[in-house]
């Protein structure tokens, strides 16, 4: 890595990147796989944690709150290393990078989703609870039939933003050798000595995917805002 080559001029060569482009695409698929699975487990778990934190008795509420806060305030990489390096020894189980990644990011995202759910539920006007109570609905029915359907609509943009954050965070799986996009890029860069081109292309691929998702979220927010289903609280 000699300094000063900027002045001399650097000859870009993207051919190596495109020769191994299928490896990068495979990496992208793996990135999406981890993200998708983490969402699949993280959202229901988040709802559960939110309900425990909101309506659980002290025995349930306090551990749920602590888990949420702990997962939200520790760096994801520390969590990933704990689940990959520490937990298997502790429990005497074997875990591969893929499983550790899905486990970590399901839990990690569930904490954030729990807060989204909680915020959404709390944002519903108290009058809705009272109206449901007045026609004789119990708490579970009210939550399921009246509150959540309204809350979920408001939460959609926050969910999607969180999903995008999650996709960005999954780059960490490369540090435990799971073959996501970043890991593939790193491998190709090392074998071809073309780090500049490889990392730039990988960054561009992330950008394209994430930017499209962000645009979609913005459009949806705009749409929901216009139809009045999203009231900023």
């Amino acid at each position: 890595m000699q300094a000063g080559s900027f002045i001399v001029g650097y000859e870009w060569d993207f051919s190596v990147v495109f020769r191994d482009f299928d490896l990068l695409l495979l990496g992208l698929v793996n990135t999406l796989k981890v993200t998708g699975l983490a969402l699949l487990f993280g959202i229901p778990l988040g709802l559960l944690l939110a309900l425990l934190r909101l309506y659980g008795n002290a025995v349930l509420r306090i551990p749920a709150s602590f888990l949420i806060e702990f997962l939200r305030t520790t760096p994801p990489i520390a969590q990933l290393f704990w689940f990959f390096f520490a937990m298997p020894i502790l429990l005497g189980v074997e875990i591969d990078p893929f499983e550790a990644s899905v486990l970590t990011f399901s839990l990690q995202s569930s904490a954030f989703f729990a807060e989204v759910f909680r915020g959404g539920i709390l944002s519903i006007d108290n009058g809705q609870w009272e109206a449901a109570k007045a026609i004789g609905m119990n708490r579970n029915d009210t939550l399921r039939r009246v509150i959540l359907p309204q809350a979920v609509k408001r939460m959609i943009p926050a969910f999607l933003e969180r999903a995008i954050e999650l996709m960005k965070t999954t780059t960490l799986v490369s540090t435990i050798s799971y073959a996501d996009l970043l890991y593939q890029a790193n491998t190709i860069a090392q074998s071809t000595y073309r780090s500049l081109e490889v990392f730039t292309v990988a960054a561009a691929m992330y950008f394209v995917v994430i930017f499209i998702c962000s645009l979609a979220v913005q459009r949806l927010e705009h749409h929901l805002g216009r139809t009045g289903e999203l009231t900023k609280g």
């Binding site: 702990f70 520790t74 760096p75 020894i89 790193n186 490889v198």
Partner: protein
């Protein structure tokens, strides 16, 4: 199998952890200060009607907001040195990535904060005969900054968490020190549990503070 917890190797390496903690804080503070400072200019450029400022600023913000921060750090460490006019070590690469990331996010906070101020405030200031910089400096910014504080604090929390990514390029912050110690002492359980707790203790009081602040500023309206 039953694991016997043994934290002695964690404590005997307290000095290495302390160095890591110091490096974590140095990296976070440097990136936060530079990020907030330059973020104001990028935010102003994005707010400006002039395309010469607006477009490059928007492109910059979108690129840094829509790529993973780890990719940014890796890019600055492995790719950027090839074309860089100056030497890049782990600290500069991490600081570059995290600072520019903070610039991008904080510029949006500035922008959103200014936009959140009701149009009537601009009008009242204008009706008194204030020029643009007086309207901005005396009326809009003082109100907007108060609203931005919780968002900036949240950003600071995120930033401290993100500094742990510098371990990937072997900058000796807390996470990297933990990784090193756990390899030498064969105590990943105790070491990674401890480092998670250290981060929690470091950050959690701050998040409580943010929450309090948010509640207070909401009550104020």
């Amino acid at each position: 199998m039953e694991h016997v917890w043994d934290f002695s190797a964690v404590f005997s390496n307290w000095y290495l952890l302390l160095i890591g903690l110091k490096n974590t804080i140095v990296l976070a503070v440097v990136c936060l200060v530079l990020g907030l400072f330059f973020g104001l200019f990028v935010g102003a450029a994005r707010y400006s009607g002039n395309r010469l400022f607006n477009w490059p600023a928007t492109a910059f913000v979108e690129i840094f907001r829509n790529t993973p921060v780890l990719v940014q750090i890796m890019w600055f460490f492995f790719a950027f040195p090839i074309i860089s006019p100056f030497d890049i070590n782990a600290f500069t690469a991490a600081a570059l990535g995290l600072t520019l990331n903070t610039v991008a996010f904080s510029s949006e906070i500035y922008r959103a904060g200014i936009q959140s101020i009701h149009k009537g405030q601009w009008e009242a200031a204008k009706a008194l005969g204030m020029n643009y910089s007086q309207q901005m400096g005396r009326i809009i910014l003082p109100q907007a900054v108060r609203r931005m504080i919780p968002a900036f604090m949240n950003r600071a929390v995120e930033l401290v968490k993100m500094t742990s990514l510098a371990s990937v390029i072997a900058y000796g912050e807390l996470m990297h020190q933990a990784k090193t110690i756990s390899t030498i002492e064969f105590n990943p359980i105790e070491m990674y549990t401890s480092v998670a707790l250290i981060f929690f203790i470091l950050i959690f009081p701050f998040t409580l503070l943010v929450q309090r602040f948010e509640i207070r500023s909401k009550a104020k309206g």
